[in-house]
Symmetry: D2
Subunit: 294 residues, 4 copies
């Protein structure tokens, strides 16, 4: 069933120990827990997964562990992030061989790039396998953004079927939908209000917080799908409070601290990022208890 | 009926002739047309009203003409915009004497200001009359933005009952609502998707485009109020296309060109702003015909 | 004496009392003191002069007082700042009639402008009188910047003979000099190191701090003119420490506090700007004593 | 000869073929040519060296080739760039073992970092070897900038003896010098005017363009050192025209095209970066002939 990504897809954290080893058991346990909670897919190596802090071997191991843990029950969409086309193609092929179901395509620019150069990069990823591709753009952290014109042109490539825009500009998502019609489906990010993105025609969300609030996230998704917008907003408001708390800290540190409070020993973000302090940890744990009790 | 602003409130253009005279008849006619169309209020001297390009006498005259035209049928909320507290207080008092029903409070900063200095400014406006105040913040054009903490503190002032945030960040609106609860009501701006803002708890929108698409704007508002979100989105999508077209040009030039195509001889934006060229005018006129025919 | 502006030209503060009246005596005294110190010109209504906070009558009065105080001994170059072409032309004509020797042309944009629109504005100022014009550009505070191409085109207008660029990018000044050759002379701003701008071919500086350190500023200018770069840098370093201190606060507040410490009762910046607190005032006074004792 | 870096230090390009292999011969030839031209040191893996586009093996090989080519005649200062402290420490140790004479320390941030976290990163690099360290900061391309306070604190570490700031703000360099006194020496970057940085107390420059204009760069350095500022500026102006031309394109593409025109077959920048087109190549070649003929 190709081209059927939809729903709540947590960005997984990448648990790495002090020696740089991927902590495989806890990562597999987290995948098991999320699948048991009902998530619609797993996304290793997004921003929350600290792709920007991992080397090639660590990334590959993370992807393999998640594929093995998912065991075909839900799709695994792995982040490919590179500054060169060659590296992006190599990652795509390696993850395809390892068995992922889709590619989340991220461009790590250094020098400024033209629209044409940016399109070359994403086109190369699409051509490196026959997997469905989700375009990722985040003007806050990436130094190259996808223009609406580039998105329109890339939508002509058959396997590029999705986009996740992590700007805070929800109107841009509606403009993307207006421009690419049925050719590309749109996922929400943490920076958008998922209920709003669902209202305007989104198909779900890929986001770190879903790791620590999977059940209420899935309930929110069901309410949106059923068109029960009033009930959805009651729940959305409570989940937004979790997002707001996370926005005050490093995102990976928050999700890792939250998972630790829920019994998953995923450790700390990679230095020089810092773990949350005790007060912030307690605050996160309490907020997650409230949100999950809802 | 204090504290009851809600619904579709067009930002009026300011028709000014080549000699700098406010063109009173066309402005009054526009007000009459919008009231006849059913708008819930009129807002002279917003961004669309080119407050940044008018002198004190022109601003005063615009406000007086709108008040006379409204004749008490809908509330008139006038923009107060200044770089000094003294000027803002003087404008507020003058517009209150002239008979406005509310103040849209805008800060035109030059040198950077602290949160405390910004709050002094808005507090002084609130203290200058007993009219309801709508805070306005637009990080794209103003050089001072209202932090969430400042908004929370200003919400403690009884007459500050509304906020219009013209960032593109809809999540920020939800955070404002979460923070100030029932004490402050939130209006959408053109940069947000009004249906989304209504979904999350907004009370309406203040925006320039409502001048040229009043009927479908009011229908959209009604659908949102009735909770008919599916129908609302069909209409919202079509109205968003109008917004997208406007975003490619100077906003005042677009609204003025659109009104000209609808028979209101409001003239051009003040130089060095340019009027739209013939091709853009035709495009705007056609888009408005489509949107209003819907 | 056309086209002969050069040297140290202090940006004057605008002393305004709590009732909004220009304090004429202290402003005249300050002009007298600076002329006696040897400055090469006086510049009312720059950033330091709080042009963005004064109304038309206050600006006009400031200009008149400075012209009367200068009494033809040094040129007076008045800031013209507006968002509309019409207002800029009116200001230019009014100041020309009042007897200024040059115009410092500032554009206060609100909506974004094209290069062509920006050039229309400055061209109109040049055409409004036969006075020499100094282009002013400050990407930190103005919302419209002058591109190198616009500067080249404006340099073709005979009366536009100078530019003051208040970016922090000194390389841009050298590019301007390379592009416009002998047709436009370049002044340094506070954000640049004056000795460096003199080294690359600048003709002097227009800056607020020269109000409070006129003597060492003039000595620095003389050393640069004499090519005594080693001695110049010893003095430049000490003066830079004054600049650094000012950069930590509101500029008008610093210069006004410094002048108060030197016996000029110029008062405070216009609210919502705040005056410096007691500690910062003491720090400013001490730094100025050191710099002037040098 | 510890702590004696000074003079003209070209940022070397990284010649890599289509298979990702470092082209060792041409890199060695370039080093030989630059040393024969009289440069004071060689800096592989700066921005111009495309560190952001190379994997660990490619970086290591570039460093080894440069060390072998330099053969102890001039110091080799290698760029260490990482997002994690562990990777930076590993790179530093590997390059130290390979025989470099100094480390150019670059932080590639993704999520925002606090001052303390940034200092941890640079402190770890300093502690990973006993080599002299040059701090590198570039607010245009790096997502973490070094504050003046962080620089002051890092200057207390004995081996951190230099800084290269690639902002365009020359005043910031003077502030750094004022703050860290004799404890840290300052190099200019391409974005600053080297003659200005020398005037205020800099010790030389690290920059890509020195690869293609080594002779006039060295002459400029000699004139600055001799205090012949007038002659220096004549030459500086001509070299600045080269910089301006490069600023219109991708920097690595320009330097590589320039070297190709001088007989060094260094190839193209790594895709999705593009090589210069034929017209731009001709323009670069001509400009370099002019500059080198001077």
């Amino acid at each position: 069933m190709p081209h059927a990504f939809a729903g709540v897809m947590p960005y997984l954290v990448s648990p790495v120990d002090a020696d740089g080893q991927v902590m495989e058991t806890v990562l597999a346990n987290l995948c098991e827990h999320l699948i048991a909670s009902g998530v619609h897919g797993l996304v290793p190596l997004g921003s929350t997964g600290e792709f920007a802090y991992l080397n090639a071997a660590q990334r590959q191991r993370v992807v393999e562990v998640v594929i093995a843990a998912a065991a075909g029950r839900v799709p695994v969409i792995a982040g490919v992030a590179a500054s060169t086309t060659a590296d992006a193609v190599a990652q795509t092929r390696a993850y395809a061989r390892a068995g992922v179901d889709g590619i989340l395509a991220i461009l790590e620019a250094y020098f400024p790039l033209t629209e044409a150069q940016i399109e070359v990069y994403f086109t190369a990823i699409a051509g490196a396998s026959d997997l469905p591709v989700v375009l990722y753009t985040n003007p806050n952290f990436q130094r190259a953004d996808l223009s609406l014109r580039s998105i329109e042109r890339l939508a002509a490539i058959e396997t590029i079927g999705y986009i996740k825009d992590a700007s805070t500009n929800t109107g841009r998502l509606l403009s993307i939908m207006n421009a690419v019609g049925g050719r590309m489906r749109v996922f929400s990010a943490s920076a958008h209000i998922p209920a709003c993105v669902m209202l305007i025609g989104g198909v779900g969300w890929m986001a770190g917080p879903a790791c620590v609030v999977p059940k209420p996230s899935l309930e929110l998704y069901s309410l949106c799908r059923a068109g029960l917008w009033g009930e959805a907003m009651v729940l959305q408001r409570r989940l937004w409070a979790v997002n707001e708390m996370f926005a005050r800290h490093n995102l990976a540190a928050c999700i890792k601290a939250g998972l630790e409070s829920q019994g998953f020993a995923v450790g700390n973000p990679l230095p020089p990022q810092s773990p949350l302090g005790a007060a912030a940890r307690a605050e996160v744990a309490a907020a997650l208890r409230d949100a999950n009790a809802a």
